[in-house]
Symmetry: C2
Subunit: 169 residues, 2 copies
């Protein structure tokens, strides 16, 4: 397998992974492209490589910047803006974890807290009891995951995997 083919396979797999995680294929592909590139790229480079429209590239880059995993860089004597991906995989992962926590885990915890201990006489008691039982469990699990995530986000790669994987033994 040569460079071109290898790169295409990764971009493809990354795009697939993206859609499984609720991220548009194109956005994930642009990310893969930047991640593998030795130098920051311009919008036109990306358009040429992936054969997609300027508007799409502009919007996808904005999203990637909002996720905190791509940044603009400026090169003296170059009018066009350049984009580069975070290259450190640990940084990438913790940044994505941080964002997903904020966007998904925090909101669901808020909902679960709001519905704790509902009382209601208008319906069968067993329904209320069962719902309370489940939401209590879900909230407990969510909060524990939240703690685990904050540990993950703050820690350093070797320390985290080192410590956690030692538990395997």
């Amino acid at each position: 397998m040569d460079y071109k083919e290898g790169r295409a396979r990764i971009i493809d797999a990354w795009g697939q992974l993206g859609t499984n995680w609720g991220i548009s294929r194109t956005m994930a592909q642009i990310h893969a492209l930047l991640m593998l590139a030795p130098e920051p790229m311009t919008t036109d480079d990306i358009i040429a490589e992936l054969q997609i429209s300027r508007g799409n590239v502009s919007m996808s880059l904005r999203s990637l910047i909002d996720w905190g995993i791509v940044r603009k860089v400026y090169k003296p004597g170059q009018r066009k803006e350049l984009y580069e991906s975070e290259k450190d995989v640990w940084e990438l992962a913790t940044q994505v974890a941080k964002e997903r926590r904020r966007r998904e885990l925090d909101p669901i915890i808020r909902v679960l807290e709001d519905v704790q201990g509902i009382e209601d006489n208008t319906v069968m008691k067993s329904k209320v009891t069962e719902m309370n039982k489940m939401t209590k469990q879900l909230l407990k699990f969510s909060k524990q995951s939240d703690k685990l995530l904050s540990l993950f986000i703050k820690s350093e790669e070797n320390w985290f995997f080192g410590k956690v994987l030692k538990l395997l033994k």
Copy 2:
């Protein structure tokens, strides 16, 4: 907030969460409904509660069963099939983790292994070098995550969170 409103909020939030994770809203909502129900439900119950078509319910239930988080149960004297969700949140989480590992992490690891150490003289050397550097990092991280996941999947809730969260101190 009464039972009905609370339940609606959870079903809604679960549906939202689903779409963020590449799962159809309806499928996640059916799961939430079953999770909160004190008794197994029939297809008709679900149709009535969520106001969706029979075909949709049939297909979504099949998917949930494929994920391993919903099962059919049979009740004597009842012709219709009944469905119930896994109720133990830890079981739910580890089952989802197991499936996602199989469906997503395993395939990406295979791709990353396939592209390790590509050599190519037809393009700028720096591109090949950079890609190799990234895919090596990505593979290492993926394998470590795989180990962590297998620890998570095999362990018991209190043990896992107990051990891991002790690292916070």
